[in-house]
C-alpha cells in the first residue's frame, strides 16, 4: 500500500487524479477501523492532514465556508455560535479522542446514514464543495448522498469544504443511543428554524439508507408556525410535525433498534426539538 502525502491542495488534486483508487484519509477514525477490520485494502492512502487550507474556515459572501478537515473539537469551540446544530451533534460524536481527530469532511466522505454531522447539515441547507483537477462544483448536501455509504463524488474528486448560510434562528439536534456516550445513533433528528425566510430545515439520521429530509414536515411548519406573533405553539401542529417526521423516515429493524422504535423515537424527538427551538425563538425574537 502506498502512502501519498501531498503538501498542497493542488498536489492533492493531482494525486487523486493520477490515483483515483487512492483512499483519502483525514482524521482516520473511519479509515483506520476499516483497515483494521480488513474491510478494505486500498492500493494507496492519500493523506490530507498536511494541507493547511482544509482546516480553515471563513465567510464566502453570505455563506460560511468550513474546510473539510475541521475537527469536531474545533466545531464545538470555534463555531458553536454560528452553527449551533452542528456543534450539538459534534458533542455527541464518539469520545474526546475521536472529536480531536475526526472531521466533518470525513463524516461526509463515509456517508454513513448514521453520520451525526449529516442531519444538521441537511437541516441547515448546507452545500458540499467538491474539487478535482477538472474544476470545482457545489451541490446541496441533500443531493450528495445516493445510498448507504455512496455519494455523487467522482473518483478523482475530493471534498474541499461545506458551506452553510450563517446561522439566523434556532437550531436543535438530538440523538438516541443505547448508552449515554460513545454510541452510534439508533436515530437522530436535526431541526433549523429560519425566521427571516420563514423556512424550516430538518434532517433525519440512522433511519433510512441515507440521511433524510422530512419535506412535508418542513412545509407544515413553514405554513403553520406563528412566526410574526411568536405565539404559543399550537399542540396540533407539534403533534402533526412529529407524525410527519416519523413518516418521512425509512427505518429498518437491525441490531441497534427496531424500525418501530426508530419511528416512535423520531416523532418524540421532532416534537421535543420543535418545542425547544420555538421557545428559543419566542425568547430571543426573530
Amino acid at each position: 500500500m502506498d502512502f501519498l502525502s501531498p503538501a498542497t491542495w493542488a498536489e492533492a488534486l493531482a494525486a487523486k487524479a493520477a490515483n483515483p483508487d487512492a483512499l483519502p484519509i483525514a482524521g482516520g477514525t473511519d479509515v483506520m477501523v476499516e483497515l483494521n477490520f480488513d474491510r478494505r485494502r486500498p492500493s494507496a492512502l492519500l493523506d490530507l492532514t498536511r494541507i493547511g487550507e482544509l482546516t480553515e474556515w471563513g465567510t464566502d459572501g453570505d455563506l460560511l465556508r468550513i474546510g473539510s478537515g475541521v475537527t469536531y473539537a474545533r466545531i464545538i469551540t470555534e463555531l458553536a455560535h454560528r452553527l449551533p446544530g452542528l456543534a450539538m451533534a459534534a458533542r455527541t460524536v464518539g469520545s474526546p479522542q475521536i472529536r480531536n481527530r475526526g472531521t466533518v469532511g470525513g463524516n461526509l466522505g463515509s456517508a454513513s446514514p448514521a453520520g451525526d454531522a449529516l442531519p444538521p447539515l441537511l437541516a441547515a441547507g448546507a452545500l458540499v464543495e467538491l474539487a478535482s483537477t477538472r474544476g470545482v462544483r457545489r451541490l446541496p448536501v441533500a443531493e450528495f448522498f445516493t445510498g448507504p455509504k455512496r455519494t455523487v463524488r467522482a473518483p478523482d474528486e475530493l471534498i474541499a469544504a461545506f458551506l452553510v448560510p450563517s446561522h439566523r434562528g434556532p437550531h436543535q439536534f438530538a440523538k438516541i443511543g443505547s448508552r449515554n456516550a460513545m454510541v452510534i445513533a439508533v436515530c437522530s433528528f436535526a431541526l433549523a428554524l429560519r425566521p427571516v425566510t420563514g423556512e424550516v430545515g430538518t434532517g433525519i439520521g440512522s433511519a433510512g439508507p441515507t440521511p433524510l429530509r422530512a419535506a412535508q414536515a418542513e412545509r407544515l411548519l413553514a405554513d403553520e408556525l406563528p412566526w410574526r406573533t411568536a405565539a404559543v405553539l399550537p399542540e396540533a401542529v407539534v403533534g402533526r410535525f412529529g407524525e410527519l417526521v416519523a413518516g418521512a423516515a425509512a427505518p429498518i429493524d437491525d441490531i441497534r433498534g427496531t424500525a418501530a422504535y426508530r419511528r416512535h423515537a423520531l416523532s418524540v424527538l421532532a416534537r421535543r426539538t420543535l418545542r425547544w427551538a420555538w421557545e428559543e425563538y419566542r425568547r430571543e425574537g426573530p
Partner: protein, 754 residues
C-alpha cells in the same frame, strides 16, 4: 543477643494485611508501559493465524491447503490431522476439538492454523484455505435441545414438601441475554520450542496448570516438557479459563522449530472465548400472608452452546444458589445446561449465580407487590442468617448478614435530583430530553455466591516462600503459580508475607509452572486459597527461623517475627533476623486446602457442596425517559461483607467494577446471536458502560470474620456483579410500572415499540 527493643522502635512493617500498598502494575498500566501478552516478542518469531468456521453447523467434506502453502512466507498450515496428542480438550469434559475434523459445531470454531513470517501473510494464507463445507441446520433453541436430550448436565434440588401450597403465589418467566466478559487484552501468547523437544508457553491465562495439563495432552507430551509462564493479562472475568490459542501456538512452534506468536483481533476475540450462559428461567414463589416464603419452584435452562466448557459447574451453581439468600422450607429446583450450536458458554464472573439472581429477585419484587409490602421488607422477612439451611441441606455456618446489608443500602441518603447539567439526563449530551418524561425509580436486590471450587473438587494452592538476607536486609521471596489477572493478587501475596514475617521487602516471583498449582483465578477464590497457601508457607518459614534460634538460644515458644526481628509476644526483640539467618536462607513450600466440600446427591441435590457463601446488596436509583425508553443510572448504593479487607482499596475496586459489569448486563451488554451467528462481534455494537453510564457509588464494607477462612476473609470479586443487575431493573420497573422480564433492557422494551 542484641539489646532488647520493641518492634515499634524499629518501625512496624507497612504494607501488610489491611493496608492498601501501591500495586506494582498500577503506574505501568495507567501510563501504557505495562507489557501485556500481546506485546511479547522473540527473535525469529513467526505469527500464527486461525481459520474459523463461518457456519454454526456444517460437515467438513474436505480441506484444500494448496493455495495457502503456496504463499511465500508461509511456514506451516495445520489441520486436525496434525494434532499429535488428544484431539480434544476441555475443563471438565474433553469434548472440544483442537481443530475441527469432520464437523463444525459453532460459528468461529477453529478449523486450521497457519504460521508465517508476518501476521498479514498468516491471515492471507488462512483466507486461501479452501474448506468444503456442507451446511447443516443448527440447533439454536436451548429448550428444543433439552427436549431432544442434548443436555450437559441436569441438577435437581429437592427440599421439604414438593407439593406445598401457599396463600399467595407469584410466577414469572425471565430471560438473560448472552453477556461477554469483554476484557480489553485479546487472547495472545508466545510459544517457544525447547531443546528437549518440549515447549515454553508465555500466556495470559487464569490457571497455568490446567492449561499445562490440557496442552500437554493435546501435544502428546509429558507435562514436564510443557512449561507455562504467565504473561501480562489484560483482564479475564472467566474468559481465560478455557484454552484459546494455547495448543495452536505450541503446535505451530513444534512443527516449525521457531517461536510462534498469536494475537487475536478484537472481532476474533468474541469467537475465541466462552460467554455467559443465556438463561430461560421459570419461577413460582409461594408465600404466606406475611410474606414468608413457603416454597420456590424453578426450572432453569442455561444454553451451554456447542461444547461443555464449565457448563456442568455453572448449572450446579444455578441450582444450588437459585432461590437466593433466603430461607425456603420447600424447594423444587431443576437446572439444566443444554447443548446447542450457539457459541460455547462457560465461566463468567458470577458463574450461574448472576442469571438466577435476576430471576429470584424479580420474583421477590413481584411478591412484595402482591402483598403490598416494601421490597426491602419482604427480603428482610425471608433473609437467611447464620445457621440457616440452604436448599441443599447445607447449613450456612459463617456470617450471613443479609438483612443488615439490605438495611445499609436502604438507609443511605437518597441521591439528589438532577441538577440540569445535560450529562445528568437520560441520553446525556445527546440532548434527548430537558427533563420531559423523566421519572425516577429506586430498586433493591441482594445476591448470594459460593466462594472457591465446590462439590468435592480437590481445591488447593501451592506457595514457596524463602526468607534470606540480601545486602544486609531481610528479603522475602514469594513464588506461586497464581494468575494476576488485574485483581491485585501480587500485591496481596506481598502483604501477607509482610504481616507474617515482619519483613518490609517482599519480592513476588513471576507466576509459572515451576512451582505447584495455585488453582484458578476464579470463583472469588485466590485471596482465600493462594492467600492461605502463602500464609501457611510463611508460617512454616517463621517456624524454621524460630527453630534455628531455638537450637542456639533455647525454646522459642511464643516468639514471632516483626520489624526484621524476632520478638516476644509483647513485642520485645530477642534477636535480629540478620543474625539468625546469616547466609543461609529459610525456604518452605506448602500446599494449602480449604475445608473439604462434598458432591451433590444426583437425585435430590443434597450435600455440603460449597465452602463459603458471600453476599452483596444493591440499591439502584435511575432516571428513565419513559417516552423514549432511555435510562440513566443516577446512583448505586452497595453493601458487601468481605470478612476481612486484606487490601481495602482493591476491595473497593472489585466492588465498583463488579457493580458496573452488572449494570452493563441490565442495560446494554448482549452478544446478539441469530440462527447461531453472532451479529455484533465488536465494541461498536457490543456496548459496555462508559464513564457517563456508571454512576457514583456508595459502598459499605462489612468485615465479619469467617472463622474458617484465612484472616476471616470472604471472596470479593463476584458478589458485586450479581445483584446490581436486578437492582437496576427493579428501579426501572419502579419508574415505568412495566414488568420487564428480560435483560438487557432495551429502549424499545420500555416504549412498547418492539
Amino acid at each position: 543477643m542484641t539489646t532488647p527493643m520493641t518492634e515499634t522502635s524499629r518501625g512496624a512493617v507497612t504494607g501488610g494485611v489491611g493496608d492498601s500498598p501501591v500495586r506494582p502494575d498500577g503506574t505501568l498500566k495507567v501510563t501504557g508501559q505495562f507489557a501485556f501478552s500481546s506485546d511479547l516478542s522473540a527473535d525469529g518469531m513467526l505469527w500464527g493465524a486461525t481459520l474459523r468456521s463461518p457456519y454454526a453447523r456444517a460437515r467438513i467434506r474436505g480441506i484444500d491447503l494448496t493455495a495457502a502453502l503456496a504463499l511465500p512466507g508461509v511456514r506451516a498450515v495445520l489441520t486436525a490431522a496434525d494434532v499429535p496428542g488428544a484431539g480434544s480438550y476441555g475443563l471438565e469434559v474433553a469434548d472440544q476439538p483442537v481443530l475441527a475434523a469432520d464437523e463444525v459445531s459453532y460459528q468461529g470454531e477453529p478449523v486450521a492454523v497457519v504460521a508465517a513470517d508476518h501476521p498479514e501473510t498468516a491471515r492471507r494464507a488462512a483466507a486461501r484455505i479452501v474448506v468444503d463445507y456442507e451446511p447443516l441446520p443448527p440447533v439454536t433453541d436451548a429448550e428444543a435441545a433439552l427436549a431432544a436430550g442434548d443436555i450437559f448436565r441436569h441438577v435437581p434440588v429437592r427440599r421439604g414438601d414438593a407439593h406445598a401450597t401457599a396463600e399467595v403465589v407469584v410466577s414469572g418467566v425471565y430471560q438473560v441475554g448472552m453477556q461477554d466478559q469483554a476484557f480489553l487484552g485479546p487472547e495472545s501468547g508466545l510459544a517457544m520450542p525447547t531443546v528437549d523437544g518440549g515447549v515454553d508457553l508465555y500466556i495470559a491465562t487464569q490457571w497455568l496448570h490446567v492449561d499445562q495439563r490440557q496442552v500437554a495432552s493435546c501435544l502428546g507430551l509429558p507435562v514436564d516438557r510443557v512449561r507455562l509462564y504467565l504473561a501480562g493479562v489484560g483482564g479475564a472475568f472467566g474468559a481465560r479459563e478455557d484454552l484459546s490459542m494455547q495448543v495452536h501456538a505450541c503446535l505451530l512452534a513444534l512443527r516449525t522449530g521457531r517461536p510462534v506468536k498469536m494475537v487475536y483481533g478484537r472481532e476474533e476475540s468474541f469467537f475465541g472465548h466462552v460467554h455467559r450462559h443465556p438463561a430461560l428461567m421459570r419461577y413460582e414463589h409461594g408465600a404466606d400472608r406475611d410474606g414468608r416464603l413457603v416454597y420456590v419452584k424453578a426450572h432453569i435452562v442455561l444454553d451451554g452452546g456447542a461444547y461443555a466448557s464449565s457448563t456442568p459447574a455453572v448449572v450446579a451453581n444455578a441450582a444450588t444458589l437459585g432461590v437466593g439468600p433466603y430461607e425456603v422450607p420447600n424447594v423444587v429446583m431443576d437446572a439444566y445446561g443444554a447443548r446447542t450450536n450457539n457459541p460455547p458458554c462457560g465461566a463468567m464472573r458470577g458463574f450461574g449465580a448472576v442469571q438466577t439472581c435476576f430471576g429470584y429477585e424479580s420474583q421477590m419484587d413481584k411478591l412484595a407487590a402482591a402483598l403490598g409490602l416494601d421490597p426491602v421488607e419482604i427480603r428482610r422477612r425471608n433473609a437467611m442468617t447464620t445457621g440457616s439451611v440452604m436448599p441443599t441441606g447445607q447449613v450456612v455456618d459463617g456470617p450471613a448478614p443479609v438483612a443488615r446489608l439490605l438495611e445499609l443500602v436502604r438507609d443511605r441518603p437518597a441521591p439528589l435530583a438532577a441538577s440540569g447539567d445535560p450529562r445528568e439526563w437520560p441520553g446525556g449530551v445527546a440532548n434527548t430530553t430537558h427533563g420531559e418524561s423523566v421519572v425516577r425509580g429506586v430498586g433493591y436486590a441482594i445476591g448470594i455466591k459460593n466462594v472457591c471450587f465446590s462439590e468435592g473438587f480437590d481445591d488447593y494452592s501451592t506457595a514457596r516462600v524463602r526468607l534470606e538476607m540480601v545486602g544486609g536486609e531481610p528479603v522475602v521471596l514469594v513464588h506461586t503459580a497464581a494468575a494476576e489477572v488485574g485483581q491485585g493478587l501480587v500485591t496481596l501475596q506481598a502483604q501477607i508475607a509482610r504481616t507474617e514475617l515482619g519483613v518490609e521487602r517482599v519480592v513476588v516471583a513471576a507466576a509459572d509452572t515451576t512451582v505447584g498449582s495455585a488453582g484458578s483465578s476464579s470463583a472469588s477464590r485466590q485471596s482465600y486459597v493462594t492467600g492461605g497457601a502463602v500464609r501457611a508457607a510463611c508460617q512454616a518459614v517463621r517456624d524454621g527461623v524460630l527453630a534455628r534460634l531455638g537450637a542456639r538460644a533455647g525454646p522459642a515458644d511464643g516468639l514471632r517475627l516483626a520489624g526484621g526481628m524476632v520478638v516476644t509476644a509483647s513485642g520485645v526483640a530477642v534477636a535480629d533476623l540478620a543474625e539468625v539467618l546469616g547466609d543461609d536462607p529459610v525456604e518452605e513450600t506448602r500446599q494449602w486446602r480449604h475445608r473439604p466440600t462434598h458432591p451433590l446427591d444426583p437425585r435430590t441435590g443434597q450435600g455440603d457442596a460449597h465452602v463459603q457463601y458471600a453476599f452483596a446488596a444493591h440499591r439502584a436509583t435511575v432516571d428513565v425517559d419513559v417516552e423514549l425508553g432511555l435510562v440513566r443510572v443516577v446512583e448505586i448504593a452497595t453493601a458487601q461483607d468481605v470478612g476481612k479487607a486484606i487490601n481495602p482499596q482493591a476491595v473497593l475496586g472489585q466492588i465498583h467494577g463488579g457493580t458496573a459489569q452488572g449494570l452493563g448486563l441490565a442495560l446494554m451488554e448482549e452478544l446478539r446471536v441469530v440462527d447461531g451467528l453472532v451479529r455484533n462481534p465488536s465494541f461498536t455494537d457490543y456496548l459496555i458502560p462508559t464513564i457517563l453510564d456508571v454512576p457514583p457509588m456508595t459502598v459499605d464494607v462489612l468485615e465479619l470474620a469467617d472463622p474458617h477462612a484465612p484472616y476471616g476473609l470472604r471472596g470479593v470479586g463476584e458478589p458485586p456483579t450479581i445483584s446490581s443487575t436486578p437492582a437496576v431493573v427493579a428501579a426501572i420497573r419502579a419508574a415505568t410500572g412495566l414488568a420487564l422480564s428480560r435483560v438487557p433492557v432495551r429502549p424499545e422494551y420500555l416504549t412498547g415499540a418492539v
